[in-house]
Symmetry: C2
Subunit: 199 residues, 2 copies
């Protein structure tokens, strides 16, 4: 929760701490209980004891609730790539960034797993996820170019990294709950290296 999460809810007539967090939680619960398609913004707001107007101050639509963390994750990963030790190869840079960022999800495994299930339930959400991941790969490719990596190397490393991340995330979200995301990610990066080397 940040300071921007504390806003005045004009209609409810009081200060609402962490309105964003309450909306997120209410939306997730409703999406899991009755499905994403069937849930309305009015229902999310009601469950969070807030108004629709407050909802729309935080999110553009009910889909965006599920992608609220995407730009934070992207900023974190780009930052990690830009600030990685100069001696690291492009692929090692990308891999280290993802493993470090695993803590981003690792803190809330149940939340990440729920999100995954909701996304898989809707074609529209899966499409949105693809677009966010393509944007992420493109941003990481740009960060690698800023480090002096040439094309197509920068794009290949960034795209291959995002692929490994996505596959690792799926395995982690659907696998035994005690495994750590960072460990699963490391395994998948090792397998990526091994499978692409055998040509």
């Amino acid at each position: 929760m940040s300071l921007t999460d504390i806003r005045y809810d004009a209609v409810m007539g009081r200060w609402e701490p962490d309105a964003r967090g309450r909306l997120l939680q209410a939306a997730f619960e409703l999406y899991v209980e009755r499905g994403f398609e069937e849930t309305t913004v009015a229902e999310i707001a009601a469950k969070a004891r807030l108004t629709e107007r407050t909802f729309f101050r935080h999110f553009t639509d009910k889909r965006e609730v599920l992608f609220a963390g995407a730009s934070d994750l992207q900023a974190l990963l780009v930052n990690l790539v830009l600030n990685a030790p100069a001696a690291l190869t492009p692929m090692a840079t990308v891999r280290a960034a993802f493993i470090e960022a695993a803590a981003f999800f690792g803190e809330q495994p149940e939340f990440a797993r729920q999100r995954q299930r909701i996304i898989l339930s809707s074609t529209e959400l899966q499409e949105r996820e693809l677009i966010k991941l393509a944007t992420l790969a493109s941003a990481m490719g740009g960060a690698l170019r800023e480090r002096g990596v040439k094309e197509p190397g920068a794009s290949l490393a960034a795209e291959a990294g995002v692929t490994a991340f996505r596959i690792a995330f799926d395995r982690w979200a659907n696998g035994p709950t005690q495994r750590e995301l960072a460990g699963v990610m490391d395994d998948v990066f090792i397998q990526l290296r091994s499978i692409t080397s055998e040509t």
Copy 2:
């Protein structure tokens, strides 16, 4: 042109050979001349001297005109993966399939380049392209599993292959016109191996 392209145009009242081909050509010309957003199905049909009804017998909407080849390409690639020599590694199988399929576009380079420019002009089309490529990767991953490749290897090889294909295709479509797609693709696959091995 296939037999299914020869259909009776009820409104125009005559047999129309290659209506599909004419609609494709008219649509591409209009998308390049005045932009994808600005072009209507009525205009495409008029330019091809066909009716809108005929258009909708061939394509669900004006967007689909640009993705008409996607399912043929996918069927071809899946087939090539399933029928590759058993001794090939997963990545070599994927690479060989893409290089063989390069002829699919290689025959009509100007068409492929135009298509690329049209897609880049619209966010909606780029999203559609992402979805088609994700479907392709998933189908090729399935074909690898049928060959006995385990997960996550099958998905990693298929996804990495689609990434290399996409990057090679972009470079080819925007590079010197005399280069062959198969050659550009081979280069990118070699760079993929080299970049992922350095971790």
